[in-house]
Symmetry: C2
Subunit: 371 residues, 2 copies
């Protein structure tokens, strides 16, 4: 999507230089746009581990490019394969719970094995890294196309008045290679000239909404308003939200949606006020083994200091301030699970389905052996 009028992705091969990958170092957002050059697999591993980049789709693409960098670095002799396998393990260990990471690395390893010579393996790694990234962007673009008619329908009902869409956390293009999941339909509608306005939950404690979603919407020119996470219910009670679209970190094939902590509260409010609530996600986020999201999905607990301290810009520097008594405990659960019964529909790259086993498997019939 656009940054100051110029089209960007979150990760790309450096123009005119086949040996470097460039990424947006998201740690500096929203205050500074910082492009980082990466030329070793170690640098890529650090970028993933220390969250220069984050988001399921983007982590997968970064791992793919990481393996490509490893093929460039690897000794061009019998130790080539060993180096690649060590690089693969290194990349996989950066964020062990990220499903797309291992998937992208394994896809690269399988592809490289097909190469006859080291040169050919390097070519394959570049091709596959690019393909993983392109596929991620394409899946997100398709999610946008499938969600667009939902927004158009509301826009028609409102005679073109802005469609107010609430979103939580960052399921935007910054979490993928391009377009995003929850944001993709919003960008599609905006680019088609449909008036939209986004309520951006700030998303405590890590503020991904306030810092990332607000930034990317603003850069692309989409009208938006940041709100405290407490606010959505009040807005829905007063007819100020037309629909909710969120992303998902893991969705069971029965339609339970794990997403950033607080999503469940917004789903309850949408349900109480008869407002459509959609989860938008590439099918790679669907867990075909899990049946009961509340019982089976393990919720990551992070350090309480993310609640107690807050980072932001102060006199041109990033500073961290303490909000609480120094000695108070804080708990920090990263995700919650929204039960399928509260979800109007799931928007995937193949189309929209209901949040239940039958409807999901109708869209992905090749998975039926799991259902």
């Amino acid at each position: 999507m656009n940054i100051q009028g110029q089209a960007f992705r979150t990760i790309w091969l450096k123009p005119g230089d086949l040996t470097r990958i460039q990424i947006i170092d998201q740690r500096h957002l929203p205050h500074q746009l910082f492009i980082e050059d990466l030329e070793t697999v170690d640098q890529m591993a650090t970028a993933i581990k220390d969250m220069h980049l984050r988001g399921a789709g983007l982590i997968g693409a970064a791992a793919g490019f990481g393996i490509y960098l490893a093929t460039l670095e690897a000794p061009k002799n019998d130790f080539f394969e060993t180096f690649i396998f060590q690089a693969a393990e290194k990349l996989k260990s950066t964020r062990p719970t990220a499903v797309n990471l291992a998937w992208a690395v394994d896809r690269q390893l399988n592809a490289i094995q097909q190469g006859q010579s080291i040169e050919e393996k390097i070519d394959i790694a570049l091709f596959m890294a690019t393909q993983i990234a392109d596929e991620d962007a394409e899946h997100c673009r398709h999610i946008g196309e499938h969600g667009l008619p939902l927004i158009e329908a509301i826009s028609r009902k409102k005679n073109g008045a802005p469609v107010n869409i609430l979103t939580h956390c960052n399921a935007g293009w910054l979490a993928f290679v391009d377009y995003g999941s929850a944001t993709s339909s919003i960008y599609a509608a905006h680019d088609k000239g449909i008036a939209v306005h986004v309520w951006v939950d700030e998303t405590r404690p890590r503020n991904q909404g306030a810092s990332l979603t607000a930034w990317e919407l603003g850069q692309h020119g989409v009208p938006h308003t940041i709100i405290a996470d407490n606010t959505g219910g009040h807005l829905m009670q007063h007819g100020m939200v037309d629909m909710v679209i969120v992303g998902s970190d893991r969705t069971t094939y029965t339609g339970d949606v794990a997403n950033k902590i607080g999503t469940y509260l917004k789903a309850l409010a949408a349900h109480d006020n008869n407002i459509p609530f959609y989860a938008a996600l590439p099918s790679s986020s669907i867990d075909w083994q899990m049946e009961d999201g509340l019982k089976e999905i393990v919720i990551e607990e992070r350090h309480g200091d993310e609640v107690k301290y807050m980072e932001g810009l102060c006199e041109s520097e990033i500073k961290k301030v303490l909000l609480t008594p120094l000695n108070s405990n804080a708990a920090n659960y990263a995700f919650d699970v929204t039960p399928a019964r509260l979800i109007t529909g799931i928007i995937t790259e193949r189309g929209i389905c209901k949040a239940n086993r039958e409807s999901i498997l109708d869209l992905f019939p090749e998975k039926k052996q799991h259902g």
Copy 2:
């Protein structure tokens, strides 16, 4: 309640000095306990206006003491009354929407008129200011006594394991003269030796939970854990909350509860998980004219910068950091309304009632002409 083992109120006559009022300047909490001396009505007006103190009950008590300070300052001649009336107007204008403020000022004016001499009027003003403060503390103490059996019953059911209570914002003793409304039963249970643990919603955007509730619970020795406002739903889904107690800024006589923004979301989650949800409030917060909270209660909109910037302690100084893109809009609704249907009961100084017209009026039969 206690601060480092010593009993405190939020406002008091300076020991050994009848000409000064002392308050906790809450702007420095939780990082520093700062006691401020006030000796003029202008200083008291500033303390109320600039929120050195806040909270319905405390504002009323402060206004009462403000009038007392005015009687000390006023010229002891024919202009005495004029000075007092001007002081009254000044105090009332500091926070025009605070119901208790005008009520306390008018109560003082009426009382002072009964005095025959200026000396007597001063004595009356001191007596009445003390009485307003004592009454506030007594009402809160009674709320605690009435709520205590609810906690005791859960404690018995859990065989003495800690009762987990979630609260939102600060309806603690810092918002009143002592005890608080939502916290009063919690302090009563803790002081009786019942094991309790409080989940403290940080309460964005002004963080009253993270800064004030956590501080006062910690100082009194009550176990507590601060959580992002997004977290409560997840905790309730997993049986980690036994009950919710919140305060109220205004409650209709039909049982709709206006409270800090985000309260409605917690009420929805409590309802969805079959967890009792109580509002604790002195009857002075009941609006005997209002029937439909959602339609009639006007919700204050505050400046968006409270969402965009956050204050905290950084290298021993209070600093303000920017969380969002500089140019993004932010909206800041201060309260929401929880419909009566989501509320298990209302705990008042007279006892507990259901959140409906009949039950509330049974507890306050003298108000029946309004129902």
